[in-house]
Amino acid sequence: MPVAARGDRSPVPRSGALEDLLDRVSRGDQQAFDNLYTAVAGTVLGLVRRVVRDPAQSEEVAQEVLIEVWRSAARFDARQGSAMAWIMTLTHRRAVDRVRTAQAAAVRDHKVGLGSYTPPFDEVSEQVERRLEREQVRRCLHQLTDLQRESVTLAYYRGYTYKETADLLGTALGTVKTRLRDGLIRLRDCLGVSA
C-alpha cells in the first residue's frame, strides 16, 4: 500500500477501528467480533427495521446479516470502501431480499400483484424523517428537493426499486433514476463525502 507523501493534502485514510476489527474477525477472532457487534448491531437493526418493518422478521434478518459479516469478513476489501459501507450494503441487500421474497410469496399465494402493495407513503416519509437521529443527515436531507428526498428515502429506507418508487410518486422512471443520483450526490456533498 502506497504511503502518502508528506504534505499531500489528500486525506490519508487512517485505518479505522471497524476495518481493524473486521480484519481480526476474518481470522476467527471472536472477541473482535463481539466488539464489532457493539459497533454496528444498532445500525444494522435500524436499517433492517426501516425496510422490513415487522419487528420479529427484522430481528431475524439482522441476525442473519451479523452472522454473514462473521462468515464473509475475509471478503471485505478496504480498497473498495469503508467497513461500515460494506456492512450496510450487505444489510440493505438482505433486508430488501426479505421484503421482495415476501412480496413474491404473496403474489404466488394470493395472486395479488404489486399494485395492491401500496404503503402509505406520507406516513413513510414522515416517520423516516422524524426518526432520523442525526441532525446532520436531517439537515442535509432537507436541502434536497422534495422529489429527491422522497425518491432517496423510499428507495433506501423502504427498499423499493426505482420502478416501484416511480409508481408511488407518480413520476417517470427516468426522472426517478436521475433524482436518486442527483439527490444522493447532493447528500454526499452536504455530508462532506465528496471527492
Binding site: G42, L45, A73, A74, H92, R134, T161, Y162
Partner: protein
C-alpha cells in the same frame, strides 16, 4: 436500460434500488467505468450515513443468539485472485476516513442502550431519549473530528475501554465493553489526569457492561484518562488504584 446512459444508474445502484438483473448488468458496467465505480463507492458511503441516522437499540438477546451461532459457521477464505483484480488506476478511497469511526461510536451508543443518559433515574422516558439523541449527536461529531484519536485498553478486573479524544471538539468519549459488575455500593468513575492530579470526569451508568459516554470537562491539558471503582455517587479524588490509565 439500453436507451439510458448507464451512468445515471449510480444512485439507484448505490441505494440498492435496481432489480437483481439490472444490478448485475450495472456491476459489469462498473468494471469498465472507473468514474462510475468511484461515484458508486462515494454514494454507498453516503447511503451508510443514512443508515447510521436510524440506528436503534438492539434487543438484549440478539448478541447472545448471534455469538452462539458463530461456532457453526464456517468462515470464507479471502478471495483467492485478489492480486489480479487490483485496479490499474491509483487507489481510490472514499473520502470518509472518519465514517467508520463515527459509525462505530454512534452505534455503540445505541447498542449500549443509551448508557449516556444522565444519572437522574427518575427522569421521564422522553427526556431520556432526547438527551440520548443529543449525546449521540455530540458523540458522532466527536468521532467525525479529523483530529479524533483512539486509545484502547484493558481494565484490570476485566472489560475494555476506548478513549476517544478530540482537541478540536474539546471533548472526550469513553466507549466500554464487558465491564464486570461492581459490588453493590460502587461505580466506575472516569478521571482526567492533569498536571497536579486527577479531575473527576463522570460516572459510568451503574449496572451497564457496555456502552458509550461523553466525559464531563474538556481534554485540554489532560495527559491521560483514568478509570477507578468508587463509592456510589463518585469521589472528588480517586480512593482506589486505577483500573486503567490511558495516556492521551
Amino acid at each position: 436500460m439500453n436507451t439510458v446512459d448507464p451512468h445515471t444508474l449510480t444512485g439507484a445502484y448505490a441505494l440498492g434500488a435496481l432489480p437483481e438483473h439490472e444490478a448485475a448488468q450495472f456491476a459489469r458496467h462498473l468494471a469498465r467505468c472507473p468514474a462510475c465505480d468511484l461515484e458508486v463507492r462515494e454514494l454507498q458511503e453516503t447511503a451508510a450515513r443514512l443508515a447510521l441516522a436510524v440506528a436503534e437499540v438492539p434487543p438484549a438477546g440478539l448478541r447472545a443468539r448471534v455469538l452462539a451461532a458463530l461456532p457453526e459457521v464456517r468462515q470464507l477464505p479471502p478471495v483467492p485472485h485478489r492480486a489480479t483484480v487490483v485496479p490499474l488506476r491509483p487507489r481510490a478511497r472514499p473520502r470518509l476516513p472518519y465514517l467508520a469511526a463515527a459509525a462505530c461510536l454512534a452505534a455503540a451508543v445505541a447498542a449500549g442502550g443509551l448508557a449516556v443518559r444522565a444519572q437522574h433515574e427518575a427522569d421521564q422516558q422522553r427526556d431520556r431519549s432526547t438527551r440520548a439523541e443529543q449525546q449521540t449527536a455530540a458523540l458522532s461529531a466527536l468521532m467525525a473530528a479529523p483530529d479524533a484519536t483512539f486509545h484502547t485498553t484493558a481494565l484490570k478486573g476485566g472489560g475494555s475501554g476506548t478513549v476517544v479524544v478530540s482537541e478540536q471538539q474539546g471533548r472526550t468519549a469513553f466507549v466500554y465493553h464487558g465491564l464486570p459488575k461492581l459490588p453493590e455500593a460502587r461505580v466506575y468513575q472516569l478521571w482526567y489526569s492533569r498536571e497536579g492530579g486527577m479531575v473527576p470526569a463522570g460516572l459510568v451508568e451503574t449496572g451497564r457492561a457496555g456502552g458509550a459516554m461523553l466525559l464531563t470537562g474538556t481534554p485540554r491539558g489532560a495527559v491521560g484518562v483514568g478509570v477507578t471503582a468508587e463509592p456510589r455517587g463518585g469521589s472528588s479524588r480517586p480512593t482506589s488504584p486505577p483500573l486503567a490509565l490511558v495516556p492521551v
